[in-house]
């Protein structure tokens, strides 16, 4: 400790001065952003599986339980499923697994920024990583669950066709929608704590306003079908059913909406959500540390 020191040449000699612009959504470069996003998502994912006794099973049990109950109710009690839809159980299972991803990721994202308070207030951390990590963790989970679901689908006798290749498009749309909704919710929650309660209700309502429990053509009147297609999630689920299960009578989203014009509201909501999510997050990101 008492060893004499020489003032050596500065380690960072020659590095140019760079303006410090304050916190932002991406903060500190794209590479660091992606590294952090991936690392945080994967560690959280691993933690969920290795931290509990039954690990992965838990994340599967929840949608499977829901599936079992709903299958019983809709095929034995109400009898819509078994009579009108050829592959009702697989339609239900696929729908529930996809919707579980949306619901879990968004509801985890709501308070993600607030629970990571320490990181936000004490380090220069790219703010966007926080809500997106919950979405990516959910997506990793979804990928595992889909393996089980597809095994089920094949076992149920659904033919493997070329249209399965279109499935990633639906996944991408769902992922983007989940991500932008999560971004908006996470920063709004910092300022308005009611967001969590409101979103719990809204996400419950959205489950029933999407053709998951029932086929899109279950309605006696076309008007309801058209109205349902205002929900971007409904459009995605309708197309998934067509692409994966390819039942002869199942209408495409285009059929259900009654033409391209009918799909406009859903597209508007989708892109509107994207723009709003990005805009509000970008606007709030520099202020999160102060508002917490």
């Amino acid at each position: 400790m008492i060893a004499p020191e020489e003032t050596a040449a500065p380690a960072n000699a020659g590095a140019p001065l760079q303006e410090v612009r304050g916190p932002s959504a991406l903060g500190g470069g794209m590479r660091r952003f992606l590294d952090l996003l991936w690392l945080m998502s994967v560690t959280e994912f691993k933690r969920a599986y290795f931290g509990t006794v039954l690990g992965y099973l838990w994340s599967l049990i929840r949608p499977l339980m829901l599936f079992g109950v709903l299958l019983f109710v809709f095929t034995k009690v109400f009898k819509i499923g078994s009579e009108t839809v050829e592959h009702y159980p697989v339609m239900l299972l696929l729908g529930i697994v996809l919707y579980t991803f949306f619901q879990e990721a968004t509801s985890n994202a709501v308070n993600s920024v607030v629970t990571q308070e320490g990181v936000v207030r004490k380090t220069q951390f790219p703010r966007l990583v926080i809500p997106l990590a919950t979405v990516v963790t959910g997506a990793l989970n979804l990928c595992l669950n889909l393996v089980v679901v597809f095994a089920f689908i094949v076992a149920f006798g659904v033919a493997v066709t070329w249209s399965w290749l279109l499935f990633p498009i639906a996944l991408l749309l769902l992922f983007v929608l989940t991500a932008v909704v999560s971004m908006a919710l996470s920063v709004l929650y910092v300022r308005f704590r009611d967001v969590a309660i409101i979103w719990a209700v809204v996400s419950q309502v959205l489950l029933y306003l999407s053709p998951i429990l029932y086929p899109v053509d279950a309605f006696p009147e076309e008007t309801y079908e058209r109205l349902l297609m205002v929900n971007p999630l409904a459009v995605i689920f309708t197309e998934v059913r067509v692409w994966i299960l390819h039942e002869p009578g199942a209408p495409t989203a285009l059929d259900a909406a009654g033409g391209w014009l009918g799909l406009l509201p859903a597209a508007a909501i989708f892109f509107g959500s994207c723009i709003y999510g990005i805009w509000v997050f970008k606007r709030e990101a520099p202020r999160i540390a102060e508002a917490l």
């Binding site: 001065l17 303006e19 500190g28 220069q124 009611d194 967001v195």
Partner: protein, 419 residues
């Protein structure tokens, strides 16, 4: 170490060396104001019910036109009382807050941390956390995986590397955090009050690491209340007060300004000024001095203790008694001594100042010590200021005793009776 750095001369030599290098951080006219709503609107309902209700704010000028330059290879201290704006400044430098106006420019990579252990996930093992923390500091995951072993060795946590952090003791956590920061190899480091962590041997290690970084020419900003640390490590120090720069200069000078500020009469109760006053007399200052009369807050083991107390008489007194108690960090009084002040020393009338100096052999063990100071007179003046001075004895000689008197000890090997 202290003799080298707390005396004025070597410091100013170093200062020249440091200020001749190019700037690492340039801050120009920085302003930051916080708006604190007097009535916080936290729910949408309140917003909806009172959409146009004027929301009142109290403005808090955390930083009010701060400009300074830090040079590459400089170890720069920022001191100030609570609420002086030093943490805000640090958060602005680290891009955690956004400045209202002004410019900050930094050369090289900055470790974006202002507190140790932030971002640790307690459900993960030390290894995983090291990688995560390193990536937060801007390294790649691959790079960081290669550095895991050196970090664990530095932190002396080899046996616990695969233990989840939730099972760590707080001391182990701090060691790990410090080790990660050291290994992350940033050009500019921001450090907020971390020196008083870990056990004595780890503190020593931290001190060594700081000296090494200093030797490597890293730029380091240390924010602290503790003048001892500033004087021990820093080339220059800045004193912030109410969002403005009060002083920039060599640490010893800044330290004096800081203590002056702390002892100022308008202090918040904790200062000597308000505690050291009784009817009839006022304690002006109570200081620990070095060989040339400069104020110290650290002493090397065995270095003589010089205490100086200055008081002002507000009324005539027949005689006074001024005394000191030196206590250790546990509050145990170790030494007590005092002196009478009689009219033979000078006229004891209102308006006069009394200066008492004491030279004491230093047999204190290393660690923090406090000086309590008392003044009494026959006609009823009674002042007692506990912890009037706080200082640290440092040195390499650990002891389990409460004092370390100078000693000579020798061993001899002699033939046994049977041999």
């Amino acid at each position: 170490m202290a003799t080298e750095e707390t005396t004025l001369e070597p410091s100013s030599v170093k200062l020249d060396a440091a200020t001749s290098s190019p700037p690492a951080i340039v801050v120009e006219d920085l302003h930051k104001t916080f708006r604190i709503p007097t009535e916080r609107v936290d729910s949408l309902k309140e917003r909806a019910v009172h959409p146009f209700a004027s929301r009142e704010y109290r403005e808090l000028h955390a930083l009010d036109g701060v400009s300074f330059e830090i040079h590459q290879g400089e170890f720069f201290g920022i001191v100030g009382r609570n609420g002086s704006g030093k943490s805000t400044l640090l958060k602005l430098l680290a891009s955690i807050y956004r400045a209202d106006s002004g410019r900050i420019r930094i050369a090289g990579r900055l470790a974006p941390f202002i507190e140790l252990g932030v971002g640790f996930n307690h459900e993960l093992t030390a290894r995983e956390n090291i990688v995560l923390n390193g990536v937060m500091m801007g390294l790649t995951p691959g790079d960081m995986r290669r550095r895991v072993d050196p970090v664990i060795d530095f932190a002396e946590l080899r046996e616990f590397a695969d233990l989840k952090l939730k099972n760590y003791s707080s001391g182990m956590l701090v060691r790990l955090a410090f080790a990660v920061m050291m290994e992350a190899d940033a050009d500019v480091l921001l450090i907020d009050e971390v020196l008083a962590v870990g056990d004595a041997s780890f503190q020593q290690k931290c001190a060594d690491a700081f000296h090494q970084m200093k030797a490597e020419g890293k730029t380091i900003i240390l924010v602290t209340h503790e003048m001892a640390a500033v004087e021990a490590y820093c080339h220059r120090a800045m004193l912030l007060h109410e969002g403005r720069i009060q002083h920039i200069g060599v640490p010893a000078e800044t330290g004096r300004e800081y203590l002056k500020l702390n002892f100022a009469r308008d202090g918040e109760g904790a200062s000597l000024g308000s505690r050291g006053e009784a009817e009839g007399a006022r304690l002006l200052s109570c200081t620990l001095e070095g060989g040339e009369g400069e104020e110290l807050s650290t002493l090397e083991l065995g270095e003589p203790i010089r205490l100086r107390v200055e008081l002002e008489l507000l009324q005539d007194v027949p005689g006074l008694h001024v005394g000191f108690v030196i206590a250790n960090a546990d509050g145990l009084g170790l030494v007590e001594f005092g002196t009478p002040v009689t009219p033979e020393d000078g006229e004891l009338v209102a308006g006069k100042r009394v200066v008492v100096s004491a030279d004491v052999d230093n047999s204190l063990a290393i660690g923090r010590h406090y000086v309590h100071c008392g003044v009494q007179s026959a006609n009823g003046i009674s002042i007692y200021v506990a912890n009037a001075i706080s200082f640290v004895i440092f040195g390499a000689q650990q002891t389990r005793g409460i004092i370390s008197p100078r000693h000579e000890i020798e061993a001899e090997v002699v033939d046994g009776a049977s041999g």
